[in-house]
């Protein structure tokens, strides 16, 4: 199933979001989290999870009595897969400058991270213990 996982739809992304956020969850837990934002039928969520399991987006853990689901791929992996989406990329560029965050738009590089680490280490040494 490695390379053939299809891109998740918007609705599937929402369920994946819950699974990444909460870790492995029962259908009831996923339903509760989804309903907190927009009321949804329990059966809709169940059906959706079954479809996603079929696509290989989520895995079902059948060792438990109630069905427990877990995301098949990490968020990073999925994000990189979605970044190939042209539309996403087009939005990505100009959206980046319109949202505000604790980090700048551009990712830090290895060298920057090393430099940051050095600054922090230096500072810590100077701190009175």
């Amino acid at each position: 199933m490695a390379a053939t996982v299809p891109k998740p739809t918007d609705a599937e992304l929402e369920i994946l979001c819950v699974l990444w956020s909460r870790g492995r969850s029962t259908v009831r837990e996923v339903h509760e989290a989804i309903t907190a934002r927009k009321p949804t039928q329990y059966t809709t969520v169940l059906k959706q999870l079954q479809v996603m399991a079929g696509k290989g987006l989520v895995r079902r853990d059948e060792s438990q009595r109630s069905h427990v689901y877990v995301a098949a791929r990490t968020r990073d992996w999925t994000q990189r897969q979605l970044a190939g989406d042209l539309l996403q990329r087009a939005f990505g560029g100009s959206t980046g400058s319109l949202v505000l965050g604790a980090l700048s738009e551009t990712k830090a590089t290895k060298r920057e991270l090393a430099e940051v680490r050095r600054l922090l280490d230096e500072y810590e040494k100077g701190l009175p213990q």
């Binding site: 992304l13 990444w20 956020s21 505000l100 604790a102 590089t109 920057e112 600054l119 810590e124």
Partner: protein, 492 residues
């Protein structure tokens, strides 16, 4: 005439051209001033100075445009009067070149600027649509305990609006979206993945953005960037604003955590490492140099505030100064051109007055060119004689045509004089001088049904234009100057 050319030759287009040219040095000056004033100040002061610099550029652009607009109308009318020309000295000395037609060149700037500005604005709109999508798609509510924590932190940060806390599948780093109903989006799993006190520090940073109305200001900033897309100084100042904005939020967040800068810096580092998971090996060396170490600067500033080094912007100053110098030179040249043009044509040179005023509406471009090239007054005198001869018809000798022409000018100066404008320069004057007296005039000096005063002229036939041509003039400003509302050439 092409519609584009028609637009380019309007006074509005020319005024925009002037505003664009002047914005070059205005922006450079604002950037230079900002750099001077902001050196060694705190983040808050630097931030507001930079915002003020951006605002000043926008305001001065608007003022320049307004100033360059002819105050007396004809804004959308095509400027048919060609730029005045300077004749060579009668003594036969080296001929000064005909004045550079600054106004025409400037008019051509505006279509390019418009296209660019529209494209860049579309990019802003696209980005805005993208943020809406980011907030809607692939998100879920954060677990309840975190929502409670956020409410407490918001109270500590004194954020008045309720802030939503969402986890997102698409966001790669925590962001704030929205002004009236702000939402903090964190990458799904981050809340559980980082130590709670680090998550709190990050949330405080995001709340600081919300408290400072940064989202709205940033949106306006993006619009300004798009308008001045051609201007390196504006982009530089805008980057300055962004950097200082983050510094301000860092300071607010550190103050609100109640722990030290070290813990806060650790949180930033952890967050960046979290984002770079997996992708970091893809970065190549060229990218390293280009990104400029934003995070390093921020953390360095937090940890060693006293050592605030002169920002490493020396490489910006040199180009800025060059731009200032070039633009000032350009502006000066522009002004001197204007000055040359503005020198009262009523002054000594009768030949200049002849070509620039007397026959300006009826002389053909070819004739004008030929006239400019003449060296001596004798040649000019002969040229003028021939000019009228060419206009002689079977019914009227050259002398008659000339007399009629000057009669029309005198008539217009008598009847159509407007405040600050000779009669021959007005719209009615121009039509009268070119086409002669109309066959019928309907005049409504006190308007009709409460409207402004207007006049309607009817020509039974205008050679080359058509039959039953109607020209309408309205005194919209009730100043005594009637302006043409439709071009007879468009009226069949």
């Amino acid at each position: 005439m092409m519609p584009l050319e028609g637009w380019v030759k309007t006074a509005v287009s020319e005024a925009l051209g002037w505003a664009l040219v002047h914005s070059l040095w205005q922006g450079a000056a604002a950037a230079a001033l900002l750099r001077l004033l902001a050196a060694g100040r705190g983040a808050r002061v630097r931030y507001w100075l930079a915002c003020a610099a951006l605002l000043a550029i926008v305001v001065s652009f608007g003022l320049t445009f307004w100033h360059a607009l002819p105050p007396d109308g004809m804004r959308w009318a095509r400027r048919e009067i060609p730029a005045p020309i300077v004749l060579p000295d009668a003594a036969g000395g080296t001929a000064r070149p005909a004045a550079f037609p600054a106004s025409e060149v400037l008019g051509w700037l505006t279509p390019f600027w418009l296209v660019g500005a529209v494209l860049f604005q579309m990019r802003v709109v696209g980005g805005w649509v993208g943020t809406r999508r980011l907030r809607r798609v692939g998100v879920c509510e954060a677990p309840r305990p975190w929502k409670q924590t956020l409410a407490e932190l918001a109270a500590r940060m004194r954020v008045s609006r309720p802030v939503q806390l969402l986890e997102s599948s698409l966001a790669a780093a925590p962001v704030v979206i929205g002004y009236l109903r702000p939402a903090i989006l964190v990458p799904a799993g981050l809340l559980a993945g980082l130590p709670p006190d680090q998550v709190e520090a990050i949330l405080l940073h995001e709340l600081a953005h919300s408290r400072r109305h940064d989202y709205l200001i940033n949106l306006l900033q993006a619009v300004v960037e798009a308008l001045f897309f051609y201007h390196p100084a504006v982009w530089w100042i805008s980057g300055f604003v962004r950097a200082e904005r983050e510094h301000c939020c860092d300071d607010l967040a550190v103050a609100a955590t109640g722990r030290g800068v070290y813990e806060y810096a650790l949180a930033l580092e952890a967050l960046e490492r979290n984002r770079c998971l997996g992708t970091i090996s893809n970065e190549n060396a060229a990218v390293v140099a280009a990104t400029g170490g934003n995070l390093v600067k921020r953390i360095g500033r937090l940890l060693y505030p006293a050592a605030r080094p002169a920002p490493a912007m020396g490489w910006v100053v040199a180009p800025v100064l060059v731009v200032v110098a070039l633009a000032c030179a350009g502006a000066f040249a522009g002004f001197s051109m204007n000055a040359a043009a503005a020198q009262s044509p009523a002054e000594a040179d009768p030949y200049r007055k002849w070509v620039n005023e007397d026959v300006v509406y009826i002389i053909e471009a070819r004739e004008r060119e030929a006239f400019v090239r003449l060296k001596t007054d004798d040649e000019r005198k002969r040229f003028i004689e021939q000019f009228w001869m060419r206009r002689a018809t079977a019914r009227a000798a050259a002398e008659k045509v000339r007399e009629e022409h000057y009669r029309r000018i005198a008539y217009c100066n008598d009847l159509y004089r407007a405040p600050g404008k000779a009669g021959w320069r007005t719209d009615r004057g121009k039509i009268y001088i070119v086409h002669g007296p109309p066959d019928e005039i309907e005049s409504y000096p006190s308007g009709k049904e409460g409207g402004p005063p207007f006049e309607r002229w009817m020509y039974k036939e205008l050679p080359g234009i058509g039959k039953k041509v109607i020209v309408e003039y309205v005194d919209a400003g009730r100043t005594g100057e009637y302006r043409q509302t439709m071009d007879p050439a468009n009226k069949k």
